[in-house]
């Protein structure tokens, strides 16, 4: 190894990549194909515990499990950790609820082209949150390592940068080529929350459009909560086995939530509500205004449907469906 100094990131590893422990966990999981239909509030109260580490499906403002995140806020879950791989509106929501104390950060506090969340930034600048830096691919591959049942995956990213320095990655040498590589530790979340297009009552899921990392997230996580636009029959799942992205045995809860990605985009179904997302960014500019805003939007809503009603109800949903199908 001579001249090759091998570095180690200074960041905290929020969970050990202990494959044998996770094997035992998965062994103990009940794998009978049973009906897992439940409600949003029941799923959150029984499966999301204070302190849990979350993985959120979709891509920040695309195919996100909004109903579950709102309920996490309403149930005042605290001290959560989460994987911030393109965490945009989801990061904004969890920040609004002050729900977390640690984060694996690849993309946080922003809403892509829409701008930055003032409230999320305030929280991440406060010094109260433990942050470990990663890149998007690094987090995607950390989920993949866990999904594959291996303690790490080698990769060629983050090398030489401060992103590496404040990560929890370890530099390693390839046993064959002796080249430097980044070893990315497997990431096993406590709970995955994922919104899909179609699922049966057992949790077999179909997704249209991009997967982002949801195939791997569902395999990596101890518990998986699925919200779905539509419940379909098991027969329909069996008609096109190539389309099943998430098989039932990973899934602990299934809830039918039409328009469940709102205000995010649901590929092929409805577009994102850009007006509503702008309202969020605007409300965040003043702390008092923002508190009233989230009280009105989330805390005082009995459930996701009341939230939808407050934001234009079916008329607005129909408009978003129209926008999605413009092209």
């Amino acid at each position: 190894m001579n001249e090759k100094e091998l570095h180690k990131g200074l960041g905290k590893l929020f969970g050990a990549p202990n494959t044998d422990d996770m094997r035992l966990f998965f062994k103990g999981k009940n794998k009978a194909m049973k009906n897992k239909l439940t409600s949003v509030s029941e799923a959150v109260s029984s499966l999301v515990m204070d302190g849990d580490y979350l993985a959120i499906g979709g891509f920040g403002g695309v195919r996100i499990p909004t109903a579950i995140i709102h309920e996490i806020l309403r149930q005042k879950k605290k001290n959560l950790g989460f994987a911030g791989h393109v965490s945009t509106h989801d990061c904004q929501l969890l920040s609004a609820g002050k729900c977390f104390n640690r984060c694996d950060a690849a993309y946080i506090v922003g809403l892509e082209a829409r701008g930055l969340s003032k409230n999320a930034r305030r929280i991440f600048e406060s010094g109260d949150i433990e942050i470990t830096e990663w890149s998007n691919a690094a987090l995607a591959w950390r989920f993949k390592a866990a999904a594959m049942g291996i303690p790490f995956l080698p990769a060629r990213v983050m090398l030489g940068t401060d992103t590496f320095k404040y990560s929890a990655a370890i530099e390693m040498e390839c046993p064959f080529t002796q080249q430097k590589l980044t070893a990315l530790p497997a990431l096993y979340p406590d709970v995955a929350i994922i919104h899909v297009h179609k699922a049966d009552v057992f949790g077999n899921c179909q997704i249209n459009g991009i997967l982002v990392a949801d195939d791997d997230i569902s395999k990596a996580s101890r518990k998986v909560i699925i919200t779905t636009e539509t419940i379909i029959s098991n027969e329909e799942i069996r008609r096109e086995p190539e389309k099943t992205v998430i098989p039932y045995w990973y899934v602990d809860a299934v809830i039918e939530v039409p328009y469940g990605s709102y205000p995010g985009n649901m590929p092929g179904e409805y577009f994102s509500d850009e007006t509503h997302l702008k309202k969020w960014l605007l409300a965040e500019k003043d702390q008092e205004t923002f508190e009233k805003f989230i009280e009105h939007q989330i805390y005082s809503s009995a459930d996701f449907y009341e939230y939808l009603e407050k934001n234009g109800g079916m008329n607005n949903m129909k408009e978003l469906v129209r926008l999605e199908h413009l092209y």
Partner: protein, 258 residues
Amino acid sequence: MKARYNPMELMITIAARNLEDGAMVVVGTGVPCAAAMLAQMTHAPNLTILFEAGGVAPILPTMPISVGDSRTTHKALKATSMAEIMELCQAGIVDYCFLGGAQIDKYGNLNSTIIGNDYYKPITRFPGSGGANDLASLCWKTLVVTPQNQKRFANKVDFITTPGYLQGGNSRYDAGLPANTGPFKVITDIGVYGYHTETKEMMLLSLHPGKTMTDVQENTEFEILIPDQFETTLEPTEEELKTLREKVDPTQVIIGRS
């Protein structure tokens, strides 16, 4: 006299010209996407556009608002995962990526994580790497399109989020990053810059019409290499402007920002 084009239109046009036919490029929303669409509609019909969230070679009906929204898979050739897109890049398939950042230094290192001297108590927190570190590590050539000013073109970036040539020379390769990759060009509202073959320092390639060496120097904290000879940037043609305004960005979402 009204200028024939605005700085944004110029930057998009230059960026587009850098994407040759038959190449593959990972783009984000905004300028990069506009540049790739313009290239496709002019000299590079066979340019393959990828989005890091999983969209492969869509027929873009309009500018996406997220690199994962449904426009990025409109009539696409493939809809896949972020891991698969990044693996394509890691395997050496992808020619170009487009990046930006709050700061860039003379070696093309980019900061999009924090402003401040203490990582644990930042003055300002930005989103972080996103896919930037990955794309700049793995794609063959990194293009940066950015407005130029002293704050942004910094002597030292507060945090190397995304690798340029790191500390210059061979340091990028020595760090383990793939051979022959790295920053390619920086396109600003003042000029176009490349990098010195050996030292890897940023170097002027062409000045935009009407811009001066003083503009370059006053808007850069570090010293930009000035070769004996450099070009004047070729202005956008009428065809380029017409395509950009009428087909790529008819609602002026991007080109209206200038």
